[in-house]
């Protein structure tokens, strides 16, 4: 794989993870447990979809086959999606929603922080913008993990269950493949070892404060999202998300 190919691939991964998690969060519109939570979730989703657009626009320019950001988001099938498996997992109860957000936010925060120093200026610019937003997301999700983990007997149990359910999808966040390594070597993407170290460090710190037990580092992990091998959930997300664009292709007025 050439560096140019790796870069396109990597941009789609960033965009797709933002897009799918944003879409997942939007499912809670109108049914979040409290009004303040609803506003927060929708604002986080909005940030993520906005960031996805920035990544898609850059990817579309590099791919240069006539597809724009909208076509990349709304006209690709599941096997062409490159999002992390964690982001497509269902909302379930609020502990799972916030646990998923926390694991993602830690990864997102350190990834973006590293990307602000990317040798690719466009990437550095988008990341600098997104990092400010991701910082707020992480602050909020880590507070929820602590509040639920170190809360009542019931909330602790639910939060621990969420950590146990989601843990199998976290390995993918910090396990590099050829694309990740190639871009790290080129100074474009984050150093995978550092990213893994930072992710583990903060996750352990927050889970400890939350009186929760992380999963084993050598636990068996689901991988494949970065290569288009998804859990069964992604197809359902895309079916809903892409319906309008598929039903009325190339419509110019909504």
């Amino acid at each position: 794989m050439t560096q140019a190919e790796a870069l396109k691939e990597y941009l789609l991964r960033l965009a797709d993870s933002d897009m799918i998690l944003g879409q997942r969060l939007c499912e809670l519109c109108g049914k979040a447990p409290a009004l303040e939570e609803e506003m927060a979730l929708m604002n986080v989703a909005l940030d993520l979809v906005g960031q996805a657009r920035n990544w898609y626009e850059y990817a579309a320019e590099l791919i240069d086959d006539g597809r724009d950001a909208d076509k990349l988001a709304f006209r690709r099938d599941a096997h062409n999606y490159r999002n992390l498996l964690l982001t497509e997992q269902p909302n379930e109860d609020y502990a799972v929603t916030m646990g998923r957000q926390f694991f993602f936010d830690v990864w997102h925060y350190f990834t973006l922080k590293s990307l602000t120093e990317s040798s690719d200026e466009r990437i550095a610019g988008i990341a600098a913008k997104a990092l400010k937003e991701a910082t707020y997301h992480l602050r909020r999700s880590s507070e929820w993990v602590k509040r639920l983990g170190d809360g009542t007997e019931e909330s602790h149990k639910r939060m621990q269950d969420a950590v146990d359910i989601l843990w199998r999808f976290t390995g993918e966040l910090i396990t590099p493949d050829d694309t990740d390594r190639a871009l790290a070597e080129a100074g474009i993407g984050p150093d995978p070892d550092q990213l893994a170290k930072d992710w583990r460090g903060m996750v352990n710190e927050v889970l400890t404060q939350a009186t929760l037990t992380p999963g084993a580092e050598d636990a068996w992990m689901y991988m494949g999202g970065k290569h288009g091998e998804h859990t069964e959930h992604l197809g359902f997300i895309l079916a809903e998300m892409q319906f309008l664009q598929r039903a009325y292709p190339d419509a110019t007025t909504w």
Binding site: E36, E37, M39, A40, N43, V44, L46, D47, L48, V49, G50, Q51, R53, N54, Y109, E121, A124, G125, I126, A128, K129, A130, L131, K132, E133, T135, Y136, L138, R139, R140, S142, E143, V206
Partner: protein
Amino acid sequence: MPQHGESDHRSAVDILIASDRVPANARPDLLTEDDIWALLEEVKDPEVPAVSVVELGIVRAVHWDGKELSIDVTPTYSGCPATELIEELITEALRAAGFRDPKINQVLSPAWTTDWITAEGKEKLRAFGIAPPEGSSSKMSLLGEPDVIACPHCGSKDTERVSEFGSTACKALYRCKECLEPFDYFKCI
């Protein structure tokens, strides 16, 4: 979406119609860059109509060579839904002043920060009932306690955060424990 003042809210169709009206007798060639900055001072943020897009630090640069006009604009948040409307409002204001084909460039880098909100802008936010951002964006703590935010109504520092996110992406929701009024806080980023 009824949020703050309603008077400034126009539909996209109104703006499109209005933006077609370029006065026939306008002489934009006589205007200077300073005049254009003054024009932009009149363009209010659609979500926070108390402040202009210049006071918010959204307009980053004006390039005017007597023939071609382009404006550098930066979004406050990646997904800010007001970004496109703001660009349309700026275009409309410029066309009303006689500029036939103003260009808007969206720039992401350097990323917008609340440090760019002018002192006047911050005062106007407070008068509008929104607590302006406290401190400097570079000192924002990641996992620590939030800053002390003064109530924009009574000035009390005895306030509590209700939600990290408020009515728009750029605001958080607070409550004053002194005068008991809820208020928006313009987050420091």
